[in-house]
């Protein structure tokens, strides 16, 4: 059985930094893009936490933040350059399909924010995901 996760990218584990029960995992995705996640597991408790191991990178569409351009003064660890493909507009919430180098990403954001920012198909944006919102599963 498959987990039908909306946002599912794949990457290889590039680095593991273990502190007690917690591991900061650095992932390398297509296009030399780095992503980071923090998990409550260690190489001892989860065998898939091994260097160069291929993993699924999963995150919820509601946890994706959209920004207009390169921003440095933000604590979000994961920033991915994307292009807006399509919008599904609802009254309060809208879906945004993004075309990105490591794979397509979908975001659910407030309709008001989208129109304030002038988000429309073709526009270049930055998709950002907090470190602690990213889950991993072994491939």
């Amino acid at each position: 059985m498959d987990i039908r996760y909306v946002n599912r990218l794949t990457g290889h584990i590039k680095n593991l930094q273990v502190e007690g029960q917690i591991t900061l995992v650095t992932l390398l995705l297509e296009g030399d893009l780095e992503m980071k996640t923090i998990v409550i597991d260690t190489p001892e408790s989860a065998e898939y936490l091994a260097l160069n191991r291929e993993v699924n990178i999963l995150f919820k569409e509601t946890e994706v933040v959209i920004g207009l351009e390169k921003t440095n003064g933000i604590s979000l660890a994961n920033k991915i350059d994307c292009k807006v493909q399509t919008l599904q507009s609802g009254t309060l919430l809208s879906g945004v399909d993004l075309e990105c180098l490591p794979g397509n990403i979908r975001a659910i954001v407030s309709t008001e924010a989208l129109s304030d920012m002038g988000i429309e198909p073709g526009k270049k944006v930055l998709a950002m995901i907090k470190l602690n919102e990213v889950m991993l599963s072994p491939k």
Partner: protein, 297 residues
């Protein structure tokens, strides 16, 4: 508790293999047996029922020994207090529904048991019909009721729903679960249907070539390996409501109803009644105390 430790040589020629199981089933458990054809699932059920004597081993329910090759104990099927339902219904064609049930009732069983079971199985309106006028699902409900009339301690189900269409199967699953819970049965069921296994059973034994190769909660055995989310529960979908571009799904976990927001593509094929895993990172939930010991008191 049902204990089954048996050895039995099965098959012939190149297809020969040995049924070799060591299984302990907790009282009140609903265990499913899953595995390819010819892996020994039906033989295991028949062994427990007393229809296929093992070459050696031991079978017991609670403190009653049903089979012990060393002590030369081998209770016949009718002394093991089991109910057995097969894929084909095996009803008496010349008897009505209620006559089929009465025939199976032992003298010691309470008189109202037949009326109760007709009610639980939704058969009251059909009690005077003969089997050949019933649909497959109705016949299987009668077969199930007939197995339960004997007030079994252990219910053995050998793919009882395999011949039924999806709607009928879903409704029969509810009847099985209902009877299992209400009557406090220990149930062992052969099934090939993963949805059915997830919905009905608390434990699954995966069988291969006569051996149990994996044993555990079906959610763990059949989930796509493991996901790193530590805030993880198995629950039953109650309903799905579309709101703007998302769905709000209510899931019953234990006695609590939780709500999960999901994108339409995430919930494709998920229907009310389905068993699901709800997972999140351990970073998201907040925790606060509602009762307990106070250090200042």
């Amino acid at each position: 508790m049902v204990e089954v430790r048996i050895h039995k040589k099965l098959g012939a020629g190149t297809a020969e293999f040995t049924l070799n199981t060591d299984l302990t089933i907790a009282e009140g458990s609903l265990l499913t047996l899953y595995g390819p054809s010819g892996s020994g699932k039906t033989s295991l059920l028949r062994g427990i029922a007393g229809l296929l004597p093992p070459d050696k081993g031991y079978i017991a329910f609670q403190d009653r020994t049903w089979f012990d090759s060393e002590k030369k104990i081998n209770l016949p099927p009718q002394k093991r207090n089991i109910g057995y339902v097969f894929q084909d219904y095996a009803l008496f064609p010349n008897m009505t529904v209620i006559e089929n049930l009465k025939f199976a009732k032992s003298k010691s069983a309470p008189d109202n048991i037949i009326a109760d079971l007709l009610d639980v199985m939704d058969l009251a309106a059909l009690e005077n019909r003969k089997p050949d006028t019933l649909s497959g699902g109705q016949k299987q409900r009668v077969a199930l009721a007939r197995a339960l009339v004997q007030q079994p301690d252990v219910l053995l189900l050998d793919e009882p729903l395999a011949a039924l269409d999806t709607d009928m199967r879903l409704s029969l699953q509810d009847h099985i679960l209902d009877a299992h819970n209400k009557l406090g049965l220990t149930t062992i069921m052969v099934s090939h249907d993963l949805g059915e296994i997830m919905k009905l059973s608390d434990t699954t034994a995966i069988m291969k070539e006569g051996r149990i190769t994996q044993l555990g909660p079906p959610g763990e055995l059949f989930m796509e390996k493991h996901i790193s989310g530590k805030f993880q529960f198995t629950g039953t979908v109650l309903h799905l409501i579309q709101q703007d571009v998302i769905y709000i799904i209510s899931v019953l976990i234990g006695n609590n109803i939780v709500k999960v927001v999901a994108h339409p593509s995430e919930i494709e094929g998920i229907l009310p009644g389905d068993k699901v895993v709800v997972a999140s990172k351990a970073f998201n939930p907040v925790i606060y105390k509602i009762s307990g010991n106070s250090a200042s008191e």
